[in-house]
């Protein structure tokens, strides 16, 4: 045990006498909780009052529907490729319109989606964006696979998110 001459650690006595008596400190704590009781509450009573998120919120991914009722998507398949959860399935087809390609089938499996927003980030056409929709409940697995009918959302409803993306991308 020779050479083991580390001096014993000194404890810092940081409590003053008033703190050692303990009761004043308890009174302080009690007064804090009492004041908190009369403060306004943070709780939102959910089904009646709904939380409306900001543009930065990543809800369920949706396809942008132009004003003429067509989707922006050109079925390049990048979103499907980048999706870490393998939730997106795209099948392309040709069209006579100017963009030449469109998704014949576009499905997102909402049981797999992890709301990472990679699909939105990688999309060259700004065709898939994250919406503000967070109310996602299904009663069976088939309902959880969203096809084009559920995914297409008019562009004016997604303006908040698109503005957010343009200002920060």
């Amino acid at each position: 045990m020779s050479g083991n001459n580390i001096p014993p650690k000194k404890r810092i006595k940081d409590l003053t006498l008033m703190e050692k008596i303990y009761i004043p400190e308890i009174v302080k704590g009690l007064s804090l909780t009492l004041r908190t009781m009369f403060k306004p509450k943070f709780t939102m009573e959910y089904p009646e009052v709904k939380y409306i998120p900001e543009g930065s919120y990543r809800g369920r991914p949706v396809l942008v529907e132009e004003n003429n009722g067509e989707e922006r998507c050109v079925a390049c398949g990048l979103c499907s490729r980048v999706c870490p959860a393998l939730a997106i399935e795209v099948q392309a087809a040709e069209t006579d319109r100017e963009k030449e390609r469109y998704p014949e089938k576009f499905e997102i499996n909402m049981l797999r989606c992890i709301f990472c927003g990679f699909c939105e980030e990688v999309c060259p056409e700004e065709a898939i964006v994250m919406s503000k929709d967070y109310e996602l409940a299904f009663s069976n697995r088939e309902d959880a696979i969203y096809g084009k009918d559920k995914l297409l959302v008019p562009v004016n409803q997604l303006q908040d998110r698109i503005d957010f993306l343009r200002s920060y991308k």
Binding site: T33, K41, F42, T43
Partner: protein, 351 residues
């Protein structure tokens, strides 16, 4: 027909309507215990900037009944390792102790209705305080039995902690009561209340005794700064880890009933019981005075119950060694000093 009526009347009016008084007290206790759970949840929510239960009934007032019915419909699980008889006995002891202690607490002065003199206490016995102390000591068995018979290490630890804690704090509790008894010269709760007329409340005469008794009461009821027997983070749930369904509900109810008893006991011993200072000088009719005094008793108890809940949501739990240090090195000498203090007061002022 007359004979049956007379027989029934004899039963009902037996010992100044004892049965009716018992029923009233039992119903009141069950209701208060149920609503304490509701207020516990509400006040905890307010202290944390939340709203608390507000869905079942008007402002969530039926929440406690929803909780009780949920527990009633749950499966009653008894672990394989448990000692089944003692496992079933423990919650019964807990409830028995919680409800029988209330028999000696006076709610108000006696009143006379239609020739019947009705005392506002179930049993006005002359060793009432001794009875309370004896029963609260039996309460330790409920928790220790529950912890031991469950056959689980967490329950056992909770039970051991509880017995150590309750025995250490019972000593300072008993010595604090010593000061009260010196002043009232009686163990009868009614006499103790009557000795605190005017502003001669024991809380003012012997503040140290009041504080030690208050702290010991927290420890005796296993309420939060001292709820080591059921410390959730370390012991899962302590002594009631292995309980479910109505047996768990019995422990739950007993905890709140114990809180009620501790509050009524503190009011009786230190805060003048049902007495309102100088109310007799106002010249009110005697019936109104009695009603006001009973209301005053319940208000005092209500304020103390709020205090119990308030403290629970403000102060963190003690460590086990801190608890023992506080009990033996602070509370015990302070309660002894309190006895000397009271004795000196009696010597000097002939109180």
């Amino acid at each position: 027909m007359d004979a049956i009526w007379n027989f029934l009347w004899a039963i009902i009016s037996f010992y100044n309507f004892l049965l009716i008084r018992i029923v009233i007290v039992l119903v009141l206790m069950f209701l208060t215990a149920a609503y304490l759970v509701y207020f516990e949840r509400k006040i905890s929510a307010w202290a944390q900037n939340r709203l608390g239960p507000n869905r079942v009934g008007w402002y969530g007032l039926l929440q406690s009944f929803a909780d009780v019915f949920k527990l009633l419909f749950k499966e009653d699980i008894v672990p394989d390792n448990a000692n089944k008889k003692i496992h079933a006995l423990a919650p019964i002891i807990a409830l028995f102790v919680a409800f029988s202690t209330y028999a000696v607490i006076p709610v108000g002065p006696g009143i006379t209705i239609a020739g019947y003199e009705i005392p506002m206490v179930i049993a006005d016995i002359n060793i009432g305080i001794l009875y309370v102390l004896a029963l609260t000591s039996v309460g330790v068995y409920a928790i220790t039995f529950a912890g031991w018979s469950s056959g689980s290490k967490y329950s056992l630890l909770g039970g051991i902690r509880s017995s150590a804690q309750m025995i250490s704090y019972e000593i300072s509790m008993g010595f604090s009561i010593g000061g009260v008894i010196l002043l009232s010269e009686s163990l009868r709760p009614m006499a103790i209340v009557e000795s605190q007329s005017g502003l001669m409340w024991n809380a003012f005469i012997q503040p140290i005794g009041f504080i030690t008794f208050l702290v010991s009461a927290f420890a005796e009821t296993n309420r939060l700064p001292f709820d080591l027997p059921e410390a959730e983070p370390e012991l899962v749930g302590g002594y009631h880890t292995e309980y479910s369904s109505m047996k768990f509900a019995a422990f739950f109810l007993a905890e709140y009933a114990n809180m009620l008893i501790a509050s009524t006991l503190i009011v009786t011993l230190y805060l003048g019981g049902w007495q309102i200072p100088y109310i007799e000088t106002l010249g009110l009719p005697s019936g109104l005075v009695v009603a006001l005094q009973v209301a005053g008793f319940f208000i005092k108890v209500g304020v103390l119950l709020f205090f119990f809940i308030w403290v629970r949501w403000s102060i963190p739990r003690f460590r086990y060694d801190q608890l023992m240090n506080l009990g033996w090195k602070v509370m015990f000498p302070l309660s002894l000093f309190n006895i000397i203090w009271v004795a000196v007061l009696i010597m000097i002022f002939k109180l």
